[in-house]
Structure formats: C-alpha cells, structure tokens
C-alpha cells in the first residue's frame, strides 16, 4: 500500500475523530458539571491521539524496512557472487535497486510477464526510459523481484498497523471526552513538546555540521597525515585516477590560510576606516534628511548578493586595475587581473555596510552624558568623538571588527571570481593568491569519486574554516562582554 494512501487515511481518521469528539463534548455543555476545556480542545486531543502515534510509527517503519531490504539484498548478493570490492558491492546493490524500480515501472504500465533473462528485459526497460548497465546479471532480476515482493508485503503490513494505531488512538480520544477531562492541558503539553523540538533543530544543525565534516576529515587523515596537512607549504592535489600509485598529491594548508588572511587583511584595511568614519559621521553630524538618504543606500549595498560583487571584480575592476598599472609602468602591468589587491578591494566594499551598521549601533549606545560633559568642557565635536566616545565604544568596535573579519574569512563567491586558483605564498599584494573557500569549491566541483583524498580534503578545509570563524565569533562576544562599560 503506497505511503501517501496510508497517510491520507490516517489524516482522514484524525479529522473524523476531531469532529466526533468535538460534537460529543458539545452535548455536555448544558449539563450540571462545568466543563473544564472548550469543545475544540477535546476534538484536537482526539485528532492528535489518532494522528501522532500513527505517523511516528510510519516514519520508523519506513526507515526500518528500507534498511532491512538493503541488508537483505546485500546478503543475497554476497552469498551469490562471493566477495567483491566495496565499490563492486555498492555498484551491484545500486544495479539491483534500479532493476527493482524499473520492473515496478513496467508492472505499473501493465506488463504482466517479466522475462527471466536480461537480454529480453532490457528493451522493455529502455522503452520506459530506464537505462541499465549492460553487465547486469540474470540472477539480479530474480533478486529485484524478490525485493519488490518483500517491499510490498512490508508496506501492506506497516500500512495496516498504522491504520489500526490511528483507529485505536481515535477511539481512546473519543472515549475520554467528559466534562472533567483536562483536554486543554494535554493538548497544550503536546504543543509545548513540538515547540521544544523545533528549537532543538538549531542544536541538531550544529551537531550535524560538526559530525558530518568530522567523519570525512577522519577519513582524510587516514590517507594524509595531519602534520603534513597543517604545516606543509605546498598545495598540489594532483588529480589522478584513484588507486594509482603516487597520486596522493600534497595538501598543505599554509598557502591557503595565508591567502585567506592576507585578502581579509586588505579587505579590513578598506572597510574599517571607511565604515567607521561613515558611522561616526552619520551618528554625530548628519542631518536627518541626509541620514534618510544615506542609510537606505548603505542597506542597498548590504543587500547586493556577493556574486554580483565577484562579477564586478572579474569583469570591470580587474581589467581597470590591470590597465591602470600598465599605464603607470608604461607597458607591463604589475597588478594581475586576479590578485589579492582586487579581491581585497571588492571584499572591502562589500564589508563597508557591515562595519557601518554594527558601529552605528555601538556609537549611539554611548550615553549622552559623556558627550554633553565633554562638549560642556569646551572640546570640539571631533575631539569629543576622538577622545571620549570612541574610547568608550572601543570594546564594541573591536567586537564589530572581529565579526567583520570572520565574515571576510568565510566569503566565497568574491574570491572564487576575483582571486586566483594558484596556491601561491607571497607578500606581494599584486599577485594572485588563493583561499580556503576557493579550494573547497574547486575540489568539490570536479568529477571525482567521493572517497579520494582530493575530495575529502574539502571537508578538512571546511572544518578548519568553521573552527576559525567559531573562535573569532566567540572572541568577539567575550571581548564585548568583558570590557563593556556598564552605564546606568
């Protein structure tokens, strides 16, 4: 029985339970005992009692049967074909699964007899648009049909059980309807659990991020020693066919980390002065009319997707800088089209609104008393800002700079398009360097099998990036919390 049908039946039972319970509660309203909960709460309690256990059971059953079926097919395969490589086994498994899907498609379209040999089966399958590898064995057809039969049986049994559960729940819920029944409390407790579950999604996401990257990183460190990853200065992945000797390549983090930090430094050198000065000017000097024009303009800058910045660097700014440097030296350009300077400049432009809005909040939070006191003692406005307000806001500004730096380190699209892919280790900002994020994208958008070190290194890089930005965010929070002056 298909899953959708069972689900529809369960939901229909729940809806019916709601109506029956609510009407039953309504009949008690005119009685002598005061009803504890409104009628619709009784209805909801019956409906939830019908639907929730049945749906939970269906989820567990579906996952369980698919795992069981896979084990069963794998067992049959290894009994039949003998030991093969892991890749061979998974290939055979996926062949059987595709066969099963194809046979089911044929049966849905009315083909009654399924031939026993692959030569006869293949044209039928291709007519339905199912293409299979030509080394499919005949015994796999029998296995696929067996798997289909088992899946159908499991689906039937699971569906029946789920419907029984739903009916039982509905009956219990309807039976419990009486004036003293605390239906509202029960329903509200269920809703509270649902709310709690939603907030656990955040923790699940973090745990998922860490675990998923950790497993692949551990696989990676089995093939490439951690010391050579963290301390080597050569990045040369040497894409080669898996299993061939000498194809491991060198995976050194240092050139990528240096590139990341250098480009972020250039970006911060551009963004912090401009952003801070704009924030100070807007907070202290600007008229409200100017604020109403400039603030939306800066928000617009913040809302532009980073790929647009990347393309601006690639198509417009890079060539302009290169031609400018060629004109300056009269011939050979010293700024490459893709360089640290270009990428850092464009990233700085992107970060200006980030710095500006964070600093704006911090500067306006400094109490007026400090400002008025300084002005009252005869300081000019710029002296007040430089000597009183900025020092008072300093912890917050340092926190803002750290947050901006962590954003710069994690930025991908601008550097993919504007920085190079050559893992260079140089101090010259006019040459190309590459970053961690560019390499993650490069290593994962090729045609590589998943378990080779070339692909797994992306996860190692990813977890490094995650930890670095995590540490910077925590440092920002810590700095702000520890050094913030508590004003009344």
């Amino acid at each position: 029985m298909p899953l959708v049908t069972v689900l529809a039946i369960v939901l229909a039972i729940a809806a019916a339970a709601y109506l029956v319970a609510r009407n039953r509660a309504a009949r008690h309203v005119s009685g002598t005992i005061k009803q504890h909960s409104r009628n619709h709460y009784h209805g909801w309690w019956a409906a939830l009692l019908a639907a929730v256990p049945a749906i939970l059971f269906l989820v567990v059953w579906t996952i369980g049967t698919s795992v069981y079926l896979e084990q069963r097919i794998a067992g049959q395969l290894s009994a039949h074909a003998g030991a093969a490589t892991i890749a061979g086994q998974s290939l055979q498994l996926s062949l059987v699964k595709s066969l099963a899907g194809g046979i089911r498609l044929l049966q849905d379209n009315g083909v009654t007899t399924i031939p026993g040999t692959f030569e006869e089966l293949q044209p039928l399958l291709s007519a339905q648009g199912v293409a299979l590898a030509s080394d499919t064995q005949d015994y796999m057809i029998a296995m696929a049909r067996d798997a289909n039969a088992a899946a159908d049986a499991a689906g039937l049994v699971g569906g029946m059980l789920a419907i029984l559960l739903a009916l039982a729940g509905a009956a219990t819920g309807v039976h419990q309807v009486e004036p003293r029944a605390r239906a509202r409390n029960r329903v509200e407790r269920l809703v509270l659990w649902a709310l709690f579950g939603s907030s656990m999604v955040a923790i699940l996401t973090t745990v998922g991020i860490i675990l998923s990257m950790l497993f692949e990183t551990i696989h990676f460190f089995r093939e490439v020693p951690p010391l050579s990853f963290f301390f080597s200065t050569v990045w040369d992945p040497r894409f080669a066919a898996a299993g061939s000797e000498g194809s491991v390549g060198q995976f050194g983090l240092i050139p990528l980390l240096a590139g990341t930090l250098y480009i972020s430094l250039v970006a911060l050198l551009v963004a912090v002065p401009i952003g801070l000065m704009s924030a100070v000017y807007m907070a202290e000097y600007a008229t409200s009319r100017m604020r109403s024009i400039v603030k939306p303009a800066l928000e617009l800058l913040a809302g532009i997707p980073t790929i647009v910045y990347g393309i601006f660097a690639l198509v417009t700014l890079g060539p302009i800088l290169r031609d400018l440097s060629a004109a300056l030296t009269g011939g050979t350009p010293f700024i490459q089209a893709q360089s640290v300077f270009t990428a850092g400049l464009v990233m700085g432009i992107m970060l200006i609104p980030v710095v500006s809005s964070l600093s704006d909040d911090i500067i306006t939070a400094v109490p007026r008393a400090l400002r008025d006191g300084s002005l009252g003692l005869g300081a000019t406005r710029s002296e007040t800002i430089r000597k009183v307000i900025l020092p008072a806001a300093l912890p917050g500004i340092v926190g803002a700079i750290l947050l901006t730096a962590s954003r710069a380190i994690g930025e991908t699209m601008i550097v993919v398009l504007a920085a190079g892919v050559a893992a260079n280790l140089t101090l010259n900002p006019f040459e190309a360097m590459t970053t961690i994020t560019v390499k993650i994208v490069n290593q994962l958008t090729g045609d590589l099998e998943f378990n080779s070190p070339q692909t797994l290194v992306a996860f190692a890089l990813g977890i490094t990036l995650f930890l670095v930005t995590l540490i910077m965010n925590i440092a920002a929070l810590y700095v702000v919390r520890k050094y913030r002056e508590q004003y009344e």
Partner: protein, 438 residues
C-alpha cells in the same frame, strides 16, 4: 552712578588671551567632517559604479535581433516519401535548417549554385531555427506546402554585431563576422527585415550551448521551488523555536546552549552549510544531486537563524501589559501566546521572513557544492528534478567566454537585483504600514 563709573575707569591693560589653539582645533574639526563626508561618498560612489557597470553591460540583453523571413514549407524537403501519415517521426526529424537556409538565400538574392555565398550564410541565423520550424510544423501539419512569414533569431555573433558590440574596424580575419555578413545585415536592417525584438527567450529558455537560445527559465523555476521550500519549512520551525525560547524556556543550561548555537549559526560561512548539505542530504539521505529539494533544505538551515532572531525581537517588542491582561482574564500561557501575542508580532515576523528569503535568494556558494552547477535544458517538473538557481546560472554564464554570454549574465544580474529590490521594498513597506508604536 554705575554706568558713569564704568565709563571713566582707567583702561586696565587687557589680559592677553591664553592661546588654546582654537584655530588649529577648528581646522582639525573641519578636516574631520570632510573625512566623514569623503567616507560616505566613497561608499555611495562604489555602489553607483557597480550598478552602472551592471546596467550598461546588461540592458542590451533584453532584446534580441531577429530576421523576418518568408519560409516555404516545401513538402519535398520535409517529407519526400509522403510517409507522414504513418510515421510521426518524419515531421520531427526533417531537415528544417535547409528550409531556413534556402529562404535566407532567396531573400538575399544568392543563387543556389553560389557555393561561396552559401558558405557565408552559415552562422547568420541561429541553429535554434530547427526547433522553431519543427514546432510550427508539428503543431499544424497543414502548413506543409505553404509559405509563411517567420521571425527567426539571428546567431549570437550577428546579434552582437547588430547591437554594435563588435569592433568592425579591425580586420576581417580577426573578428567573428565577415564583411559580407555585415553588408547583408545592414541591407536587411534598412529594408526593415531585421530588427530587435523583446527577448522573451531570456526568461523562458533553458540552458543551451548557444547564447541566443539560452535563458533563465530553468533557473527561475528552480529558485522559485527553493524559495517555496524555505518558506514552508523555515517559517513554522523558526517561529515555533522563537516562541519556545522567548516565552516558555526555563532559564537553564540547555536554553543557554540553544541560544549560543543560534547566534553562532547566523555567523557561520555559507559554504559550511553547503558541505553539510553534501554530506548529509546527498550522501547520507540519498537525495538526487541537482534537485531543488536539496538546495531548498540547505537554504532552510541557513535562513532559520535569521528568522529566529527576527521573530524573537518581534515577540519581545510586544508589551507585557498584553500578557498580563490575557492571563488576568483567565487565558492559559499557550492561549495568550498564540491568540494575543503572535498576531501582534506578525508584522515583524513577516518582515524578518522576507529579509531572510531575500538573503537565501542571493546565495550561491552552498548551491555550488550540492551540484546545482548543471546544464539543465528542460524545466523541472517537480522539486526532485534537476534544476539550477538564479545566482548559480549567473556564475555559470560568467565562466563562458563569448561576448553574448557576458551580456546575458549582466541581464540576469539585473533581473536578480530587481527581484531582491522588490522583496526588500515589500518588507520596508509592510513594516511601515503595520508598525505599531506601543
């Protein structure tokens, strides 16, 4: 008495005023203000430069050059053996490019034995004419044997030349259009048979290796599916989590950990979400690789912290008097929250959601990792079919070298920016309209 006294007092020597460097300090003050104005101007200048460069490169993508040709649907070419009644494939696989070439040759006055002239015809009109003519014939087979006027797309090189993007001053060998083709183009333009038409194909075509038949149709549908998935998943879960954290959570260790986590997740680089999606959704759960469903789930996880933070702010802004009044009238905590607080916080929640969706629409990096860099020519029928997204399509076109693709890429950026601006303006208008001052 006093005034006279004051007037006749001997002049005491005026005390010299102490030099407190007032001039220097006022000059420093003026300089400081100038720095501020310069900083703001630099920011606005960069914004203007970016918008200008995008718009000037992209506005020409919105129209496409087409040639008005009378095409004779010659039965002898399409169905020489007269088998179309029994074999439907005949109409599908007929030699339509030949029809188009003959029509063009006739229009330009080239004799059918002029080999050199016919060679120059190659690359004048788009190869997509095959599909266009095939669709006309299969839709209405009675057109066979008649002559119809059809607007046929010009090829990408001719299109660029027509829009003046190719430098015609350099030698013929160094450019993609020959002098003869340019002469024909000018002649057809003067006769009114060649003109720019609004490029609906930019919005409806799928991916293609030819610029003139490629468009963002698949990307727009893919992005739409993903935005729908984000809306359906992230909004309920985000609001539920915020309600729990804001109203019901006890002040204990677990709540602290959840809050720290959410703040962290808002600052995690987007590429890490892409890695999560690759490892969990594609490898572990086995979702199809370039499907909108995987992209939608990854973007949901990214948008969740944004929605949670915005919703918490909206819920916190509802004054406590509303809580107290509802509780005092006998409502339970859950009833207070769902029936009184949540409706009042709804505008703030809505604004936060729209801003979160706008951020998700512009994200590229996580989608690159889950395989949405794909050449998809057909519209995805369901979210489980291969698709691509708007920013990823822009990225793919950025990697092409042809000039016509650069123009299309800039046109796609204009469309993306228009969508984002529309969403942001909607959010601002809604916020202004429904904002309540307590």
């Amino acid at each position: 008495m006093t005034d006279a006294t004051l007037a006749v007092l001997p002049d005491a020597p005026a005390k010299p005023r102490r030099d407190i460097g007032l001039r220097r300090r006022y000059a420093a003050e003026r300089r400081f203000r100038v720095y501020g104005v310069v900083a703001i101007s630099i920011g606005i200048l960069f914004l203007a430069a970016m918008l200008f460069s995008v718009v000037t490169k992209g506005y020409s993508a919105f129209w496409q050059t087409a040639v008005h040709l009378p095409i004779t649907f010659d039965e002898k070419v399409i169905d020489p053996s007269g088998k179309r009644a029994t074999d439907p494939n005949v109409l599908v696989t007929a030699n339509y490019p030949l029809l188009a070439r003959d029509a063009l040759a006739k229009r330009l006055g080239i004799a059918s034995d002029d080999k050199a002239g016919l060679a120059q015809l190659k690359g004048f009109i788009s190869d997509g004419v095959r599909v266009q003519l095939r669709d006309i014939v299969t839709a209405d087979p009675s057109v066979l044997g008649s002559t119809r006027d059809v607007w046929v797309l010009a090829s990408a090189n001719i299109d660029s030349a027509f829009k003046g993007q190719i430098d015609l001053a350099i030698a013929e060998a160094g450019r993609k259009v020959s002098d003869q083709q340019v002469a024909w183009m000018n002649m057809l333009r003067d006769e009114g048979a060649m003109a720019g038409k609004f490029n609906t194909g930019l919005f409806t075509f799928g991916a293609s290796s030819r610029p003139e038949t490629s468009g963002m149709g698949v990307a727009i549908i893919g992005s739409l599916y993903m935005m729908l998935i984000v809306l359906v998943l992230a909004l309920p879960i985000g609001v539920a989590a915020s309600i729990y954290l804001e109203e019901f959570a006890p002040k204990n260790r677990l709540t602290d950990i959840i809050e720290v986590n959410i703040n962290n997740l808002a600052a995690v680089p987007s590429i890490v979400y892409g890695l999560l999606g690759l490892a969990v959704f594609i490898n572990f759960a086995g979702l199809p690789r370039s499907a909108s469903v995987a992209g939608g789930l990854v973007l949901t996880l990214m948008t969740l912290p944004v929605i949670i933070i915005a919703t918490r702010a909206a819920l916190a802004a509802v004054p406590p008097s509303i809580h107290s009044a509802a509780l005092g009238l006998g409502a339970s905590k859950m009833q207070t929250v769902f029936q009184h607080v949540l409706p009042l916080a709804a505008p703030g929640i809505l604004t936060g959601t729209i801003i979160g969706l706008a951020r998700a629409l512009g994200e590229t990096a996580p989608l690159l990792l889950i395989g949405m860099v794909a050449f998809v020519a057909d519209y995805p029928a369901t979210p489980f079919d291969p698709a691509t997204a708007l920013p990823v399509q822009i990225y793919m076109w950025a990697n092409e070298a042809e000039r016509a693709f650069v123009e299309r890429m800039s046109g796609a950026i204009i469309i993306l920016l228009v969508f984002l601006m529309a969403m942001n303006i909607t959010a601002i208008v809604l916020r202004r309209r429904f904002e309540r001052r307590w």
